[in-house]
């Protein structure tokens, strides 16, 4: 046992010395390998955490949202739709929702404005932390907005949502229904859409079918559809995700190509010398196995640990840049960490195992030929 451990340690010692002899080549290889694993693991952590966050947040989503369409675009829903829908068997509540968008010409930002008659909330408007930061606002300050009849609307800031709620409320302004109607010159007796609650979730498709049949211009959106939108977010068919995956795949093809096309003359000569001084073929294979493992295992462990830090401690600045796009107001992606052991295992078997195998196979070919031929090659 001790002899076996000593043999492995000696071969590992030689492997490290051999890798350090070609320091520049191996360090650049390690850096590239690490970068590929870092990007893949970051994407995996980010998407898994975002999906989990979405699943938690959207448990509060309405059972069904009913919109009205006019000429293919969303239109306001008259109150009578709500009254008629409330009479459908199985529907327990219909709540008209008032919400919309406000373009702030001062900073070019888009805000989401929602009306709420929540009496438990602090008086005044509630705004997202990102708006407070962009407009340099504090509780008690006035936020001037221009209404649709061009008169100023001064909103007193009653509360600011904590930045931990950015994933829901970064760009949100919650105000009273009266302020909402004044701001948008919103017609009375109408709503942006209807939030419908159904007693038995199994009846949702039936209720949706009844609504669609009773109001042909309506569009019911089920909670399951809302949740599915976020479960398919960052789907591999999405442009940016495809680019990351394609880059990673291409890098691995280059690695594998480099290894599979054979050894350099110098490496072949080294194997010849080792065999001529008494190394067994198994020793040479073990040397190459360790060489592959040192590079790939180091890249894998460091890549995954760095990706975890990037996503959960630094709020994924690389992906946040892509998500910011042209947005002026954007959230800070403070995600609650999630580690999916299955996905990490897949990443390990798709990266470490092929690379280590690709390192050993050409060496096996070189190590089985005559040392003299190997040195002369």
């Amino acid at each position: 046992m001790k002899r076996t451990v000593e043999r492995h340690l000696n071969i590992l010692e030689f492997t490290l010395a051999s890798l350090l002899r070609r320091r520049a080549k191996n360090l650049s290889l390690l850096a590239m390998y690490l970068l590929v694993i870092f990007m893949l693991a970051s994407l995996q952590f980010f998407v898994t955490a975002l999906k989990r966050e979405a699943a938690l947040i959207l448990t509060d989503a309405p059972d069904m949202v009913v919109q009205r369409l006019t000429a293919g675009r969303q239109d306001l829903v008259p109150d009578r739709y709500g009254a008629d829908i409330a009479r459908i068997k199985g529907v327990t509540a219909v709540r008209p929702r008032l919400w919309g968008y406000y373009y702030d010409a001062l900073n070019g930002a888009n805000y989401t404005i929602m009306a709420s008659d929540d009496t438990a909330a602090p008086p005044g408007a509630a705004i997202g932390a990102a708006i407070a930061k962009a407009r340099n606002l504090q509780i008690g300050d006035l936020l001037p907005l221009i209404s649709y009849d061009k008169s100023p609307v001064m909103l007193e800031i009653g509360s600011i949502f904590p930045s931990s709620s950015d994933l829901i409320a970064a760009d949100l302004i919650v105000l009273s229904p009266a302020d909402f109607q004044q701001l948008f010159n919103f017609p009375g007796g109408q709503a942006t859409d209807l939030a419908v609650t159904v007693r038995n979730p199994k009846e949702l498709p039936t209720v949706a079918a009844k609504i669609a049949s009773q109001f042909p211009d309506s569009r019911p959106i089920l909670k399951s559809e809302i949740q599915r939108t976020y479960q398919s977010i960052f789907d591999w068919r999405g442009g940016m995700t495809l680019i990351v995956l394609a880059s990673a795949l291409l890098s691995f093809i280059i690695f594998a190509w480099d290894k599979a096309t054979g050894l350099s003359a110098e490496e072949r000569k080294e194997i010849g010398i080792l065999k001529s001084i008494g190394w067994e073929t198994s020793d040479v294979l073990l040397l190459k196995f360790w060489e592959g493992l040192v590079i790939s295992l180091t890249a894998f462990l460091l890549g995954v640990v760095l990706a975890y830090g990037h996503v959960f401690f630094l709020s994924a600045p690389l992906f946040a840049q892509a998500l910011k796009g042209w947005s002026v107001i954007y959230p800070r992606f403070q995600l609650v960490p999630v580690v999916n052991a299955y996905q990490l295992a897949v990443l390990f078997f798709l990266t470490v195992v092929p690379y280590t195998t690709a390192t050993v196979i050409p060496c096996w070919r070189a190590a089985t030929i005559d040392p003299d031929a190997a040195m002369r090659y």
Binding site: E13, G72, P162, I168, R237, G239, T298, L302, V305, W326
Partner: protein, 94 residues
């Protein structure tokens, strides 16, 4: 210290950190901040991931979407359109 032992020690440390990640994640999930009641009462339908376009701010309740609906050669204008996919009914059940 031998170079091989240094490497094994380094790998052991990174492996320990790697194995601690699930524990850290579980701990963070237990200590997740409670949601703001005012926000819960709004029953929001979408996450605020991007605010540049309506269909990426509220993808779940955006207009029905078909590829190249504006023009046969129209490419996506907003960067987030390449990340946040439209809600196409029945897409995941096919």
């Amino acid at each position: 210290m031998r170079r091989s032992l240094q490497f094994i020690l380094f790998t052991a440390v990174t492996l320990t950190v790697f194995l601690l990640l699930p524990l850290h994640a579980r701990n963070a999930q237990h200590h997740r901040e409670a949601p703001v009641p005012q926000l819960q009462s709004l029953h929001v339908t979408d996450l605020c991931l991007a605010t540049e376009a309506r269909y990426t701010r509220h993808p779940a309740v955006a207009d029905s979407h078909a590829p190249f609906q504006e023009h046969p050669l129209a490419l996506e204008h907003f960067p987030t359109g390449a990340l946040i996919l439209p809600n196409i009914p029945g897409r995941d059940t096919k």
